[in-house]
Amino acid sequence: MNCEQCKELLVAYVEELLAESQKQAIESHLNTCPPCRAELTQLIALRDRLAANGKVLAQSDLENKVLNRIVQEQSSKLREVSKSSKQIQLWRTIMKSRITKFAAAAAVVITISMVGWLNSYNRSGNGTKSLTYFRFISEACAAEQKLFYQDGITHIVNEIVVFPTSGDIASGQEGESDQQASVDALNLFLEYNWVPMCSVQANGHLRFNQLQLPAASTEPYSIVDESWYDSATGNFVRVLRYDEQVFFANSYDGKFVYSLETAPDGTPRLIKEQVTDDFSPPQNPAEFLGITAGLQSDIGEETVAPVQEFSRGTLADGAPVRVVKAGFADVSGELNAYWLFKVREDDGTIAEMEFIIADEPQLLIRRVLSKAVAAPSVSWSLAELPEEVAGGQETPRPVVKPDMVIPNVSVRHMVERASFETYIFAPNPPWAGHREIVDCIDPPSPGHRMFCIAYRADDGRHVVLVQSHTYNKTLGNFARKGQLVYTSPNGFKVWGGGPDKWYSGILLSSARFTIKDPPSDDRIGYVLESPAGTFPSLAVNGTLTDEELHSLIDSLIPAREYQGD
């Protein structure tokens, strides 16, 4: 090979596009030709300079700027044709604020987990299951199931790490009174992180709990979540420890179901219940012991950002993983709060999942061990555990709050548990048949419950009414910026306008367990202002005539006056 031929092939050589024989020919020429070697060095230097500049430019924040402008220009186009132009503009301004976005993102994440839970509760449901997020989580859960079927007893250890956050997310930098409400709500939300956590009850059903994790002050802290499972008998033990001290446990020894809880004063309580006659241990241990437990969801593609393969990487031990991102887009279409999943290439299980809000990691859950053992280190009956429980309540500690979600409750149950006046349609909307009420924790308002009443309609125009302390406290300011659509004789004001498609999408998605269908394109949302000063949120999965809307609102009565059930 001469210099001219070498130079001609040098770029292809640098780009690794040459056949082995050509490569060898070039290399042997380079070994003997200093000018060509110098040429190669210069070529590589220029290539590196180009690549470095490319990297710098790729870091620009054009993405958000462009999407914000698209939203802006789209809404100004809309303004030309819409009568409620002022409301939209105002909403847009409010929703543009960083704070509001994060509050919205937080609210959305609350919903996403809740839907997941109800779906796993309602496994027999015949909702559409072909959606990407659902498929992704189900596949991971099925893959994880295999880990529990090793010879003998399987021992799995997961670690939950809570990171300190900078506080930037919740600092109300604009300080405008309009935003105060959402800032307050968000601050409440950020006082603790949480993850869904299932336990098994004596009747074999799952109980849907909430593992509350206090904010980390300056250093991250971790929880050790340890399980043993015997696939031959279905016996299991699960123990959660913080600072080497047990704060929650649940087990089954073939005859009894045990749970160890800590009373508010910190004293341990071991509850032993004989299993009921129709008890059978849940078939898939991954659904209550695994990393994916409680995450299954069939949220529609309309509201959930696509599950997106983000990149590839490796775990600390070098195992290759796919990195997948999934979450709800907020009202401006941005994915400010999401989960990043690391899925092992070899067995398809989720090895790590990280929850991120506004680029800041909040939580990391990862599997640190999975192996077969001869016997569990904790007895199936938890007998020795009460000794290991820490007493006292001086500092905020992780805690398992039972009954994060109670599906299918009665109107009377709702009245007894609610800390505010609740309302219900009486009679049911004439076009909507089956009704279901779900009682769940109101995450931004500790100590309060949230009620979701969903009506499934034969014609697809399902109705969802959600009432919560958080809504009562925060929605008023936003609602009154909207458009007053109707004032009913029974004293309700109906507010419309704003991003009703977005929040009706969320309300309808959160009730998928009852209504089954995905939110439709012509769905509509309203914020109601009740005579008691509460702010129930209403979503309808379709269009209503004015007359239908009026008669629906006119039929609202205080739930305590309800005569049915």
């Binding site: 596009l17 790729a58 054009l62 993405e63 999407l67």
Partner: protein, 178 residues
């Protein structure tokens, strides 16, 4: 490069404007490199890139050949750059000499390189932009620009020579000015 531009374009047209972000991610560095050399100022280039992408979004329906998103986008960028230069000249004529003197352009880290890229002939520039700013492999560049792989490496080879010459020229000019 993963999912084709065509897929995201169709998603956008199908009522998922949020998917435009993937195209922004893919082409933002390409556009910035393309525009920074022409406009000489990082801020102006960013503005122009933003304007280009927004116009592209609202013009997606007009793009008949969805596979040709990239050259189409560069075409829009060229128009936007020309408009910006014209309006800058107008402002200059109005005579804001003082502020002109005060405002020192905030150049990106490697303005010399960006200017050298701008000076490349169109076909060479496209290859360099896709390869180094669009994160495409040579094979992907070939696919994207519908040319044989051999032509891509030859073009890249010539582009390298031109870039080096242009960078050397700029260095010499710099020396002279000093």
């Amino acid at each position: 490069m993963g999912v084709a531009d065509k897929y995201y374009i169709e998603r956008c047209l199908d009522g998922h404007p949020d998917d435009f972000r993937y195209l922004v991610r893919r082409y933002q560095a390409v556009l910035l490199a393309h525009l920074a050399g022409q406009l000489g100022n990082r801020d102006t280039a960013e503005e122009a890139a933003q304007e280009t992408l927004v116009r592209a979004y609202f013009g997606l329906e007009k793009l008949k050949k969805r596979e040709s998103f990239f050259p189409w986008l560069l075409g829009i960028a060229n128009r936007v750059a020309k408009e910006q230069q014209r309006s800058k000249q107008r402002r200059r004529r109005i005579g804001d000499v003082l502020s002109e003197a005060v405002a020192s352009p905030e150049l990106s880290q490697d303005y010399a390189l960006e200017r050298a890229i701008t000076a490349l002939p169109e076909s060479h520039r496209q290859v360099v932009l896709l390869r180094y700013y669009g994160n495409c492999s040579c094979n992907q560049v070939a696919e994207q620009l519908d040319m044989p792989l051999g032509t891509v490496t030859k073009t890249l080879s010539r582009a390298y020579a031109m870039l080096r010459e242009s960078l050397q020229q700029q260095d010499e000019n710099c020396e002279v000015q000093k």
